[in-house]
């Protein structure tokens, strides 16, 4: 028996939380299937009771791609990002968990590079970073970039996290690592992403990075206001003290 037959093919579970993503979700799923043709995977969509008909679109996608490849695991209302991932994890059957956003800020064309990086390095976690040479952002004005850069420098100085992009939510985790880390995380929103990666770093998991591009919202708009900044600073202090 050849080595290829003996080694079981790895399966990837892609968890995508959605809320009012009727316009984007079909495009995201189409692109995932387009770019992951050579891999075994499933897409788990955790929808928090979107009133705009997102779940109807997902059911149509299930008809197209199969209910074993596109899984809808809905929840009655908005219950938070961290719990959405945990909910998706319970229904995942893959060896690896990939998390990404549904609003097309994360392009599925980078999925093979995450997988390749993990295969090459044997890392437990591969995180996408927007802040390195082949990565980048689009749609951010100067103030937004300044805030992002300032926040990043502050976090690097205080936390020494070992990754360049703390708040990114385009990541691949080994299933065991994901289960281990998520059980000790309590934060919400994007501080959740920070806490995940900082705790992973403290626990000694091998973390690799791949450059990704981040296009801010094809449809809709995202905001960064005073309350988000305050939330971020509180998150930093919390992580400084408890990790």
């Amino acid at each position: 028996m050849s080595i290829k037959m003996r080694r079981k093919k790895k399966k990837y579970s892609i968890i995508i939380p959605t809320y009012n993503e009727r316009l984007n979700i079909a495009l995201v799923v189409y692109l995932v299937f387009k770019h992951l043709q050579d891999f075994e995977f499933e897409v788990i969509i955790v929808d928090d009771g979107s009133p705009d008909g997102t779940q109807d679109v997902i059911k149509q996608l299930q008809n197209v791609y199969g209910e074993d490849r596109v899984l809808l695991r809905a929840r009655p209302k908005k219950l938070g990002l961290g719990t959405a991932y945990y909910h998706g994890l319970k229904h995942a059957s893959g060896d690896f968990i990939i998390i990404m956003d549904a609003d097309l800020s994360h392009h599925p064309k980078y999925l093979p590079s995450f997988i390749r990086k993990q295969m090459e390095t044997g890392a437990s976690i591969v995180t996408g970073t927007r802040y390195v040479r082949n990565g980048g952002v689009h749609g951010w004005n100067l103030i937004r970039k300044l805030t992002s850069r300032g926040a990043n420098v502050l976090a690097q100085t205080l936390l020494w996290p070992g990754v360049s992009d703390l708040t990114g939510s385009f990541r691949l985790y080994e299933r065991k690592a994901f289960e281990d880390i998520i059980s000790s995380v309590v934060s919400k929103g994007y501080v959740f992403q920070m806490e995940m990666i900082v705790r992973a770093s403290r626990k000694g998991y091998q973390i690799e990075e791949v450059p990704i591009t981040f296009v801010d919202r094809v449809y809709g708009s995202s905001k960064l206001g005073g309350s988000e900044i305050l939330e971020y600073l509180k998150g930093l202090v919390y992580l400084l003290i408890t990790t």
Binding site: A26, L27, N134, H138, K145, R149, G150, V153, L158, I241
Partner: protein, 91 residues
């Protein structure tokens, strides 16, 4: 070891060096008293420098946005065409 303890240990080490410099008077006392201020100001300047450099070198990808817009437009066009052919949607 928890991260905060590492930071505390670093601060204690710096404080120890400062006190020993004060005691041994290798450097004139008037300068030594101000050493913590110099350190804080240098750290602040370094931080601002990193923010400035990062801002200048912030990687951007305008070509990605235009690619994505094109894909979105094509899909919308196809779905409009598809919906127009279904009586339930166009009627």
């Amino acid at each position: 070891m928890k991260h905060i303890l590492k930071i505390m240990a670093l601060l204690v080490a710096v404080a120890g060096i400062w006190i020993s410099l004060l005691e041994t008077s290798v450097v004139p006392r008037s300068y030594t008293w101000l050493l913590p201020v110099y350190l804080v100001v240098s750290l602040g300047c370094y931080g601002l420098l990193m923010v400035g450099v990062g801002l200048m070198l912030f990687p951007t990808c305008p070509q990605e946005a235009s690619l994505l817009q094109k894909v979105a437009l094509v899909i919308m066009f196809i779905s409009d065409q598809f919906c127009a052919q279904i009586p339930a949607f166009s009627g």
